[in-house]
């Protein structure tokens, strides 16, 4: 049963030059079949050119209870946004 299989997080690179993006997760008994399941589940419609799978148990997550102290201080720091620069048209994917 899939509950006996570990969970793997799936990341897809949609085309060369772009970063891998998290798209979901699959159950699989090992890394190789996790890649196969990710391929069959998430790239059936030409979504990607490269796949990563990572054991979900290896993901270290921040504590939601700490969201206030971790993230709210960034709210009032508008000077950290690079919005005061003109980006040349030739620069893509920003």
């Amino acid at each position: 049963m899939s509950s006996d299989w570990p969970l793997w997080e799936v990341f897809v690179r949609s085309k060369g030059g772009l970063a891998h993006r998290h798209v979901g997760s699959v159950h699989a008994p090992d890394a190789e079949l996790a890649l196969a399941h990710a391929r069959d589940t998430y790239t059936r419609r030409l979504e990607g050119v490269s796949l990563w799978v990572v054991p979900s148990a290896e993901i270290v997550a921040s504590d939601p209870d700490q969201a206030g102290e971790l993230f709210e201080p960034a709210e009032s720091k508008i000077y950290r946004h690079p919005t005061f620069y003109d980006i040349p048209d030739e620069v893509k994917h920003i």
Partner: protein, 273 residues
Amino acid sequence: MTVRSPAKAGAQGVATAALARSWAPAFAGEQLDPRTDFLLRIGDDALILGQRVGEWCGHGPVLEVDISLANLALDQIGQATLLLGEAGDGDQLAFHRDVLDFRNCLLVEQPNGDFAQTMARHLLYTTWQHLLLQRLQESSDQFLREFAHKAVKEIAYHRELASDWTIRLGDGTEESARRMAEGLDWMWRFVPELFEVDEGLQAAIDAGIAPDPRGFEDEYRAAIAAVLEQAQLEAPADQRPILGGRRGHHSEHLGHLLAVMQFLPRTYPDATW
């Protein structure tokens, strides 16, 4: 496990399909040209295997495997669409031929059984299919060359996935190893047919249309042996081979498969969707 002899059960399958409706069989008694004959052989293989694997849809042991099996089925159906469309009217050939007119090998029509049995069939067939498609890229026939060039990539994945599962189940738990061995036992008798060269195939080989399967039998045997070794499984003992699918002598299983697959277009010939 009890193994039924498809050879003995053949007559029953014919009766089942005949019940469907008395359509004029597309090719009954007709001498086919070697190209059409070969297109039907590999087109019917893909169609019947696709329908078989498609039977898993909604019944897979886990969601991920269900999707994986549906993908495999659709790859085969897609190839069948191209091949039968080249041989004639694809829909007519798929849905309005009777069991005696199907040219597929006996291996692909064997029942799914459990997941291990399905993977045993997929390993034994798609390893052969992959070796065939590699050589078909050199065919004298342009359509078949182009078809093989596209299809070989799909089937490389089928072969790899079936090998991966065979190894995991064989080298898994006591139960998974037993099931995998039983699945291979069931399918093993149908392997020699894949390498049989009869008059019809010989004509296609002579014309440069089809590769001679005997040319890659050693490679096939070695490839399967390598997978079984990794899977810690013994190759089943060679038994009396069962032949005849290419000439329309099918096991009873094909009649039941066709009854389900052909029911709708035969009952409602004008149905569209």
